[in-house]
Amino acid sequence: MGEENKVMLHGNWSSPFVKIVHLALTLKGVPFEYVEEDLENKSPQLLKFNPVHKKVPVLVHNGKPIVESLIITEYIDETWKNSPQFLPEDPYKRAKVRFWSNFVQQQLFGSIFTIIKTEGEAQEKAIKEVSEKLQLLEEELKEFFPDGSCSIDSENVGLLDLVFCSLFGPQKVEEEVLGLKILDPGKTPLLCSRVTAINQLSLVKELTPPRDKLVAFLKFIRENALKSASG
């Protein structure tokens, strides 16, 4: 692969934001080089490519950097026009996808993180918030999939699916770490079956980190957060 059209992704295995982009490139079949960043020791390249936020993911295409996971994914969709198309053609449907992708990333992600990092009353409050937000999502999915079917293949993965996949892994890791379920098929059946279906795609499976690694990582985050809260 020559310098022209060279694609690089600076990321970190634990970041759900990186996962969205990593999945997007893989599903589109775009050849790229992956650079794992140590978030405690960011490379000079990363700081040069993302001077404003200094974060991953950063996509570098033809030497030009693009940052922010949803912005990068739209860029990927507009640059490589083969399927899957992550955003629909129709402007109204696109608006809905953007609205819900932002909602999941900005609101849901924050609340789930709070559940991981707190206990007692603070955690209970976050659990309630997440539950309410998941219900809203479930209601919306009923409109996206009116016949209740949630089948998916690597040709029809959408942006919202990528965002779900980044947050909800297949191994129910949070159950082991927190002793509680975040996604409950009894309460949000459509969402659960969609998430399960995406996580079963072979390309997605290949990009899922080993369960032990994820469990250890989440435990580490939780223990650190609880320690600093009480210290």
């Binding site: 940052v67 922010e68 990068i72 640059t79 608006a95 932002n102």
Partner: protein, 227 residues
């Protein structure tokens, strides 16, 4: 075919004014519906934006869209006159980046700096100035963020061009000055002097009075708290 376009907004909200500005730029006729957001949101608003229950909401032929930046992209894709986004995917990504920065970082930092209590003020002002400096770097000597014409970043940064100046007048604080941010300050004049922008701004005196009332409220609260 008649097209029905409605905007649910609030007179002093920069967010609903963004939507109105984009529609006016593109010559789209619309009906404006004022919502009493503090005391009495209409059942229609709650029906059209059940998730956030906020303005603005754009209603196009009966279909509702919420969140001002999502609405702006919808407007761009639906009405093709006077584009506010470039064609090139990389340039588009850059515009989206700066739009998000203005909206998610600058606005909250500026708002916080304007209203923060005495003891937190210095830190809040420093952070707000950092944001302004970073945003200014995106101008690169151009007339507008969008180049020769108003674009998405300009629209998203509307708060800085108008609301901020009035907050500064009401609070006596100066965040955006010509000395500290010459390019950005110049931009506020360029932006503010566009006729289509002027048409989509709240009445100056009314907004200033609104901010002055907030300052008085905040001072009362502080005095009462220290009694």
């Amino acid at each position: 075919m008649s097209e029905e376009v409605k905007v649910f907004g609030f007179w002093c909200s920069p967010f609903s004014r963004r939507v109105e500005l984009a529609l006016k730029l593109k010559g789209v006729q619309y009906e404006y519906i004022e919502e009493d957001v503090f005391k009495n949101k209409s059942p229609l608003l709650l029906k059209y934006n059940p998730v956030h229950k906020k303005i603005p909401v754009l209603l196009h032929n009966g279909k509702p869209i919420a969140e001002s930046l999502v609405i702006l992209e919808y407007i761009e894709e639906t009405w093709k006159a006077n584009p506010i986004l470039p064609e090139d995917p990389y340039e588009k990504a850059m515009v989206r980046f700066w739009t998000k920065f203005a909206d998610e970082k600058c606005l909250p930092a500026l708002w916080k700096a304007g209203w923060s209590p005495e003891n937190e003020r210095e830190k809040a002002v420093d952070e707000a100035c950092e944001c302004l400096k970073t945003l200014e770097s995106a101008l690169k000597g151009k007339r507008f963020f969008g180049g020769e014409t108003v674009g998405l970043v300009d629209i998203a940064a509307n708060f800085i061009a108008f609301w901020l100046r009035l907050i500064q007048e009401a609070t006596g604080q100066e965040l955006l000055s010509a000395e500290k941010f010459p390019d950005l300050f110049k931009w506020t004049d360029e932006f503010g002097s566009c006729s289509v922008v002027k048409e989509s701004l709240p009445p100056r005196d009314k907004l200033l009075a609104f901010f002055k009332a907030r300052v008085a409220e905040a001072m009362d609260a502080q005095t009462n708290a220290s009694k």
